[in-house]
């Protein structure tokens, strides 16, 4: 199963003085099981691209095939579109802004209900989705979304997508606006969801450090085109090119480079801070055979049981 995109173009406000070509001939193949990161600065076309993957933008030119659901321009097929929305789950930026029901359970049920599932199945999925995002179902199901904390709201919104049991999960800037702890929670949640629910995950982020935490393949968008499509460990060899389009390289890559330049031997590919830590400890143990240290260490300051920690009761900062 694959997602195949062929020669995708998209133009905003065509034939007006405000015309803008957002996508210029994008060709891509995404495989089932990919853990894909998409980076690019604002206006690079990355958001426009993912909107196409579940039919939110009308195809102007090109072809898209998502797990054998075929989209071509000027063809309207409602049942295809419905199947597509059930196949590709899309978590928007600040997804908590889309909550509208008076209870958490009802809001999470919105997606599965729209899919035409029966009440029993909907209820089952709602419970599972809420538990999957690390919230206590019994405690939270009847509460109003508006009284939850920022991090909890976001997880409820994600549960609303998960309840549709999509095969592909797309998240657009999933950690935007969260504090460090909330960020860590969402990051470990994403890894958890890939394992338990949606085997193919695509994350858009402008924080390269964040993306190195999980993605195995990275696509760089620039000026409406795919600039790079590489495995993570190869991408950051192109540091200068990335820099020229205003993208940073991960801190771990930068520090590892500095160490290597000064003669420190670090083994393996280093992209994430965890990679860096492990390489440093290995190098240390090689040199200090008499007093080796435990190699089993982890970068994050926060530890979560069952992948997701409970949030406690941190009220909103705003009145």
């Amino acid at each position: 199963m694959q997602i195949v995109v062929k020669d995708l173009n998209y133009t905003y406000s065509a034939r007006t003085p405000f015309e803008r070509h957002a996508l210029k001939g994008v060709n891509l193949t995404i495989n089932e099981g990919d853990f894909l990161g998409i980076i690019g600065h604002t206006g690079s076309g990355k958001s426009t691209f993912i909107m196409h993957l579940n039919g939110l933008y009308k195809l102007q030119s090109g072809e898209i095939d998502v797990f054998d659901i075929k989209l071509v321009p000027d063809k309207k097929n409602k049942s295809d579109l419905r199947r597509l929305r059930g196949t590709v789950g899309m978590v928007f930026q600040y997804p908590e802004y889309q909550l509208f029901e008076d209870t958490v359970a009802k809001d999470v049920a919105f997606g599965p209900k729209n899919m035409g599932l029966d009440d029993e199945e909907v209820a089952k999925r709602v419970k599972r989705a809420i538990e999957l995002v690390g919230l206590d179902y019994e405690d939270i199901k009847d509460r109003a979304p508006f009284e939850l904390s920022g991090g909890q709201k976001r997880r409820v919104a994600i549960a609303g997508i998960i309840a549709m049991q999509p095969k592909v999960l797309i998240l657009d800037e999933p950690t935007a606006g969260l504090d460090p702890y909330g960020k860590e929670q969402i990051l470990s949640l994403i890894t958890h969801l890939k394992k338990e629910c949606s085997p193919t995950v695509i994350v858009i982020s402008h924080d390269v450090d964040e993306i190195t935490r999980f993605a195995s393949r990275i696509i760089v968008f620039n000026d409406g085109k795919v600039m790079f499509d590489l495995p993570m460990n190869e991408l950051f060899r192109h540091a200068d090119e990335l820099h020229s389009v205003g993208l940073e390289i991960p801190k771990a890559v930068r520090i590892a480079d500095k160490l290597r330049k000064r003669g420190v031997e670090l083994e393996g590919d280093i992209v994430s801070l965890n990679d860096l830590l492990h390489a440093i400890v290995k190098a240390y143990n090689k040199k200090h055979i008499d007093k080796t240290v435990n190699e089993n260490i982890n970068f994050s300051a926060f530890e979560f049981k069952n992948e997701v920690a409970e949030d406690g009761k941190d009220g909103e900062d705003k009145g």
């Binding site: 606006g177 504090d179 460090p180 930068r254 860096l276 400890v281 970068f299 300051a301």
Partner: protein
């Protein structure tokens, strides 16, 4: 040095359902010296945004006093003195522009204060130059990047000629590039114009260069000092869900594993140096 802002045992409570209250700020006393760059850090819900709004009288304390250059913010008659001394930039760049045109928007503050026309034009020029956006004078902010919009918001505040600038999570919604742009502008203002800056954030990395770092938790100030002193308390910082900057976290993790690295390191070069000595 003169004191710019003084908080005397300040508390603030939001009314909640059924007559209960939520104490967002709980007995905070602080003195902020003129010209300093202060970073105020805390996780969501720690009370830092409420504290920010107390600084220019958008909120008035339910207990204690806030003095801005000696003027009590609760004094209704002097509220415009307070607001023109303490400028405030908010989180969402889209919700701070009033006009659809850059120069009109920047002129809005001084127009409100009744500044003469020629002086307004001078201030608009100056403010745009300070944020490095002179060429956008007649542009519309609608299509700009988050970083550019936020720099314009800063220019709009600069035009009222404040002595203190409060940034209330003004970098939270920006991408790394936008964040850098805004931070560079603010640092420069602090350096060149001797502007007192109070930068409220939850990115620990942005607190690294501050003169002073204040950490809030549960409505109270829990740590207050030079960044390197504050980061030395990494255990406490982790406990209150904040953590330490990336480099410090590396040093801490390595030192906890038993490698002799100073866990208080905040500077990348310093970390590289000490690792080179060990490896």
């Amino acid at each position: 040095m003169a004191t710019a802002i003084k908080l005397e045992n300040v508390s603030f409570s939001y009314p909640m359902n059924e007559g209960e209250e939520h104490k967002a700020v709980n007995g905070v006393s602080l003195e902020i010296e003129e010209g300093t760059f202060v970073a105020l850090v805390g996780h969501n819900g720690s009370g830092k945004s409420t504290l920010a709004k107390l600084l220019n009288g958008l909120l008035t304390p339910t207990g204690g006093r806030v003095l801005v250059y000696g003027v009590d913010t609760a004094d209704d008659k002097k509220i415009f003195d307070v607001r023109s001394s303490v400028g405030m930039v908010f989180q969402n760049p889209d919700n701070q522009m009033i006009a659809t045109n850059v120069e009109d928007d920047i002129a809005f503050g001084p127009e409100n204060l009744g500044v003469p026309r020629e002086e307004i034009i001078r201030r608009v020029d100056w403010a745009l130059e300070k944020v490095g956006m002179s060429e956008f004078r007649n542009a519309t902010p609608f299509k700009m990047s988050g970083g550019q919009k936020q720099r314009l918001a800063i220019a709009g505040i600069l035009a009222i000629k404040p002595r203190v600038m409060v940034l209330d999570e003004s970098t939270a919604m920006l991408d790394p590039k936008g964040r850098d742009e805004v931070m560079n502008v603010v640092k420069q203002l602090n350096r060149e114009e001797k502007m007192t800056v109070i930068h409220i954030t939850h990115y620990m990395d942005e607190a690294l260069d501050a003169d002073r770092l204040i950490v809030m938790n549960d409505g109270k100030v829990v740590l207050d000092g030079k960044p390197s002193e504050v980061f030395a308390e990494h255990k406490l910082l982790t406990k209150i869900k904040l953590g330490v900057p990336c480099v410090t976290q590396l040093a801490v993790t390595l030192s906890e594993a038993g490698i002799a690295v100073d866990p208080r390191i905040t500077d990348e070069e310093e970390l590289v140096d000490s690792l080179c000595r060990l490896l």
